[in-house]
Symmetry: C2
Subunit: 102 residues, 2 copies
C-alpha cells in the first residue's frame, strides 16, 4: 500500500504522510495525493490535496519528496477530515493553478 507513506520537504524534513489518492477512473493515473501535514507549521491535521506531479518517490527515503515551498502550502487548498471536496474538473483546475502545474 502507498497510503501512510511518509512525505518529506525538499530539505529532508518529514512533514506528513499520504492519506489517500484520487485516481482517474479511466486512465488509472493518480491525479491528486491527499496528505496530512499534522503539526506542520502549526496547521494541525488538515488535509491537503496535492497534484501528483509535485511528488517524487525517493527509494532511499522510502518516501515522497514534495517540491513545494512553505509559502505555497500556507495558503493552499485544504479541508478537514470528513469534509472532502468534490474532485471534479473545476476543483482540478483550482488545485493545478495554485501549485502552478499544467
Amino acid at each position: 500500500m502507498v497510503e501512510g507513506t511518509s512525505v518529506y520537504d525538499i530539505e529532508g524534513q518529514r512533514v506528513g504522510k499520504i492519506l489517500n489518492f484520487m485516481v482517474n477512473k479511466h486512465s488509472g493515473q493518480v491525479e491528486y495525493a491527499v496528505m496530512s501535514f499534522g503539526g506542520f507549521l502549526g496547521m494541525g491535521e488538515d488535509h491537503y490535496p496535492l497534484p501528483w506531479k509535485k511528488l517524487k518517490y525517493v527509494v532511499a527515503r522510502h518516501g515522497f519528496v514534495v517540491d513545494i515551498d512553505k509559502d505555497s502550502l500556507a495558503n493552499a487548498p485544504k479541508h478537514d477530515r470528513g469534509n472532502e471536496p468534490v474532485y471534479d474538473a473545476a476543483f482540478g483546475t483550482m488545485i493545478s493553478s495554485h501549485y502552478g502545474v499544467a
Copy 2:
C-alpha cells in the same frame, strides 16, 4: 473516491466492488485493483488483485466492467482480508501471467 466503486462482469451483472489500489510509487499509475467478489460463485468475501488493464470504467454504469471469464476467476489468485500479499515484482508477474496481460 474510487474505492467502493461497483464492478460488473461483461454480461452486466454486478459482481463486487473495489477495495483499494496498488499504485506504482514512481509513476502514480494503478497497477492492480483489489476487488471483493462477495458471494460471487459462492466464493464469499475473498479479495482478488486484478491487473488494471482488465478494468474498463463505464460512465453510464458508474462502475468498472471486468473482462474476465468465470473460469479465470475461479482459480485466480486471492487472499483473505488481513492477509494481503507483498506486491513485489514476482507477484506482479504471477498476476499478469494468470490474466494473460503483458
